[in-house]
């Protein structure tokens, strides 16, 4: 019996990197699943141990991206916000430099019908940063993102929202799922 998830590519960073790109993604799958376990070197503000992940497709930074977010922050009441006409999606949650050493955030990004050329591309993301540092800033959430292009997704680029870098040990794994 074939596996449901087919590994396409995986990497674990051996040093800091400002971004990582999955290139030349085959259109032969039905859906894609991207598993991220990462950390950034964000250290721009006190008590800000969490960073987000920027996602772009096919090398495009045009203002064709938007997202709606549902999150909770340090156990406070859940909140929601949205972003429109952006040059990237800002989704997920990963620890930054102020988090404890060894803390990495786990995120799952899903891209349904990524290779069709009829619909705009919608992705789902969920993830969290459970650092114990910086009261008021550990975070988990669910997000939906829209890329207003009908072209098939052939590459996915990830970068820290603030960063500027992902740190060594960050892992990115892309799977394809093929319908029967």
């Amino acid at each position: 019996m074939p596996s449901t998830y087919t590994p396409i590519a995986t990497t674990t960073l051996g040093s800091t990197a400002s971004s990582y790109t999955f290139n030349s993604i085959s259109g032969s799958y039905t859906d894609l699943v991207l598993i991220i376990n990462a950390r950034s070197d964000r250290n721009d503000q006190a008590n800000r141990p969490t960073d987000l992940i920027k996602v772009t497709f096919n090398g495009s930074g045009a203002s064709d991206y938007s997202d709606t977010v549902l999150g909770t922050n340090s156990g406070s009441s859940p909140f929601s916000y949205r972003e429109t006409n952006q040059g990237f999606l800002a989704v997920g949650a990963i620890p930054g430099a102020q988090s404890n050493s060894g803390e990495y955030g786990t995120n799952i990004f899903q891209f349904q019908s990524y290779s069709n050329s009829t619909t705009y591309k919608t992705m789902l993301a969920r993830g969290g940063n459970a650092t114990s540092v910086g009261s008021g800033n550990y975070y988990m959430g669910a997000m939906v993102g829209l890329w207003r292009q009908t072209q098939a997704i052939t590459s996915i680029t990830l970068a820290p929202y603030v960063g500027p870098n992902f740190v060594s040990g960050s892992t990115f794994t892309l799977y394809g799922i093929q319908a029967a």
Binding site: Q110, T118, V144, T150
Partner: protein, 134 residues
Amino acid sequence: MRNTGSGSGEQSVLITVNSDTGANYATHRLTGNGSAAGAQSYTSGTAIVPFFNPENGTASNVYGVYVIDLLDYANTSKNKTIRLLGGVDYNGSGTVGLISGAWFNTNAITSITLTSGGGNWTTAAHFALYGIKG
């Protein structure tokens, strides 16, 4: 997914299993609409009812998406619990949510029916079922 309804909002998706349309379902939703989080619950329902199903009057080419997990679907000792993550974004409006659903029946799930709450499914609506084997 997207439906043929002429409005500019979102319809429900009616999820039933094994052709059971009796009042044997419950749904709980935690949602974000871009300005506030909200929660809804529905008990003794005739289907599990997430939404994020855009009507045809919404921005063209935008489809709602779900990931639906049916864990332990073939077990005959438990009522069935379904977990959903879904959403739709229109670049200025839209909703994302985490949803749980229950079917109060211990039968193994042998069929799953997805019905649009408004009109029919549009062309290019896409549904894929995968099995995961331990």
